[in-house]
């Protein structure tokens, strides 16, 4: 018997086409390949148009600050001659407190232009606040669907705060227990309401982030005479990495190294009712970062505009304890009391800057607001209530879900490189797995896979050959 779940998922394609106001089939080339750049440009907005849309929305043009105290502290633990200059883009200065406003500013503009009565987004994070805030300004109705509670109805404090702020902006917040069927209910709501799907992964949203890369390139030119040598991006679904890197390239900063960073949550299952309230991070972690990079099209749109493997030069992971330490340090040293998302990249930046020469420049490209529930003290107190051990010590002993180990000294912060070559192979495997069984990739497919993984024909062919053998 077809369940309600099966019935709605069978109509998913048709419902999403109406809700996105865009037919993705026109970009498809084969069961593997599609025309990414044509999809990204299909909305017809130039970068200047997007800047103008965002200005009207109260979004963007955030301060870029040099962190002189942090830079000197890093130099105090660096080898002689090392210790890059560290900067931060204070994205918390956006209207609803995060870079996600850049995505929402464009999505909600599109929804209004296309005449939708309301918007729906499935998000437990800052994007909900951003969509709700922009919907309020545009007079659109707004529904945010969140994964908020475990089966005992215990809410993750950061997500409960996000629910509060969405309601403060006038949104209807639908709160669910743990499970990927959140997507099913979102599709059901889109079908029932006829609202616009303000997906995090549409080309509208990801194009909105390009202005962040553009601003960083221009501001750094003004401050230092050159684009940054490195930009560190907190990485989850991949939109932040993709949009920022594209913006930097469009500003001519093609030499800037893109370093993505995530909190290591290895060992925790993202759909586990038991693990849900033991993660201590709701985003910017490997539980999103790895699966979305290695298979972007798992998203709620037919083709994800966020394709981070195209742009990542290096992927660093940091521990929970290291990020909480840096979040505290940023408030005390730089007067920036901000949330954990941007401080994930900040933690990686400290480790990175230590190994770079003094004339290198490292930009952490976001901060986010903090407050009750989101605050690192809230999260650590909550972790203790959930039975997670919190102690001071060597961050290498941190075990996600079991022990959060807070460094005792700055020099204990050491980010670890995640194997990008493995991620690229994993992406190629997933692309083939999602094609019809027995499908033989064409030369055009191989070219697409090489571009989508920022590798080359030989690397893709080697992975394909290994898959055939297996």
């Amino acid at each position: 018997m077809a369940t309600r779940f099966d019935a709605i998922m069978a109509r998913r394609g048709e419902i999403m086409r109406r809700a996105l106001g865009m037919d993705y089939s026109e970009f498809e080339i084969s069961p593997v390949a599609f025309d990414y750049e044509r999809m990204m440009g299909a909305h017809g907005y130039s970068l200047d148009d997007i800047v103008a849309i965002q200005r009207r929305a109260g979004v963007g043009d955030t301060p870029l600050l040099e962190l002189r105290n942090l830079t000197d502290l890093v130099r105090s633990v660096s080898a002689p001659g090392n210790g890059a200059r560290i900067f931060v883009k204070d994205e918390a200065a956006n209207l609803a407190g995060a870079f996600k406003d850049r995505r929402a500013g464009v999505s909600i503009h599109v929804a209004r232009e296309k005449g939708y009565e309301g918007v729906i987004a499935a998000t437990s994070g800052n994007y909900g606040a951003a969509v709700a805030s922009q919907a309020a300004r545009n007079g659109l109705k707004c529904i945010i669907v969140q994964e908020t509670f475990d089966s005992r109805h215990v809410g993750q404090p950061e997500i409960v705060e996000k629910g509060r702020v969405c309601e403060a902006y006038g949104a209807e917040v639908v709160q669910l227990t743990v499970g990927p069927e959140l997507f099913f209910h979102m599709v059901e709501l889109l079908d029932a309401t006829g609202y616009f799907a303000a997906s995090l992964y549409s080309s509208f949203g990801v194009s909105g982030i390009e202005t962040l890369g553009l601003e960083i390139a221009r501001e750094m030119e003004r401050l230092t005479g050159a684009p940054p040598t490195h930009v560190v991006v907190t990485h989850a679904g991949g939109g932040n990495t993709t949009g920022t890197a594209r913006g930097l390239r469009r500003a001519g900063a093609s030499g800037t190294e893109i370093v993505s960073a995530s909190v290591d949550l290895s060992g925790l299952h993202m759909a586990s009712d038991d693990d849900f309230n033991r993660k201590s991070f709701t985003t910017g972690h490997t539980g999103f970062g790895v699966p979305f990079a290695t298979w972007p099209d798992r998203a709620d749109v037919p083709r994800n505009a966020a394709r981070p493997l195209r742009y990542i030069d290096r992927y660093l992971t940091v521990t929970q304890g290291e990020v909480f330490y840096m979040t505290e340090a940023m408030a005390k040293l730089e007067g920036l009391e901000r949330g954990p998302a941007g401080n994930t990249a900040m933690t990686a930046a400290v480790s990175l800057a230590r190994d770079l020469p003094r004339d290198a420049t490292v930009v952490v490209q976001e901060t986010e607001y903090t407050g009750a529930g989101k605050h690192h003290w809230s999260q650590l107190n909550f972790a203790r209530e959930m039975g997670v051990e919190v102690r001071a010590g060597d961050p290498a002993d941190n075990v996600p879900g079991k022990a959060i180990v807070i460094p005792e000294r700055l020099e204990q912060i050491r980010a670890r490189d995640f194997d990008l070559a493995r991620m690229r192979r994993s992406y190629v495997r997933n692309a083939l797995r999602n094609a019809p069984e027995g499908y033989e990739p064409t030369p055009a497919d191989i070219e697409f896979l090489a571009a989508d993984t920022n590798s080359d024909r030989e690397a893709v062919e080697a992975t394909l050959a290994a898959l055939k053998e297996a």
Binding site: R4, V174, H269, E328
Partner: protein, 123 residues
């Protein structure tokens, strides 16, 4: 407040999916639980906690479920300062001051209470 009157701002609880109807490939601890949902809105009638009630959400949708709260609040807090972090600001400011003093060729400052200068020194 265990009773809602018509027009009150309330929350209802709805079972969206029974365990048997849930997605495949869920870890067992999730698969054995129903998918639950909570939504807020204006009560369209009177009810006591646990009783079936229809609400009109802020977007005007009608949702029926068991009354789970009347005028629900937000009780997220900061909690107490975290002992493992209380020393961080003091220690890092002292480390910074010592570094800058050494870079400037002077002696390290006497104690951890010394404030770091507001702007960066020589680099």
């Amino acid at each position: 407040m265990d009773r809602a009157r018509e027009g009150d701002w309330v929350e209802v609880e709805v079972k969206l999916l029974d365990p048997a109807d849930r997605s495949t490939n869920l870890p067992p601890e999730t698969a054995e639980k129903p998918l639950m949902m909570w939504v807020k809105g204006f009560a369209e009638g009177g009810a006591v906690l646990g009783e079936e009630l229809t609400i009109a959400t802020i977007t005007g949708r009608r949702v029926s479920g068991a009354l789970s709260a009347v005028n629900p609040g937000y009780y997220i807090t900061y909690g107490r300062p975290v002992p493992e972090l209380t020393h961080v600001g003091r220690d890092l400011r002292a480390q910074l001051a010592a570094y800058r003093a050494a870079e400037a060729g002077g002696a390290a400052p006497a104690g951890p209470s010394d404030e770091a200068p507001a702007e960066g020194g020589e680099r």
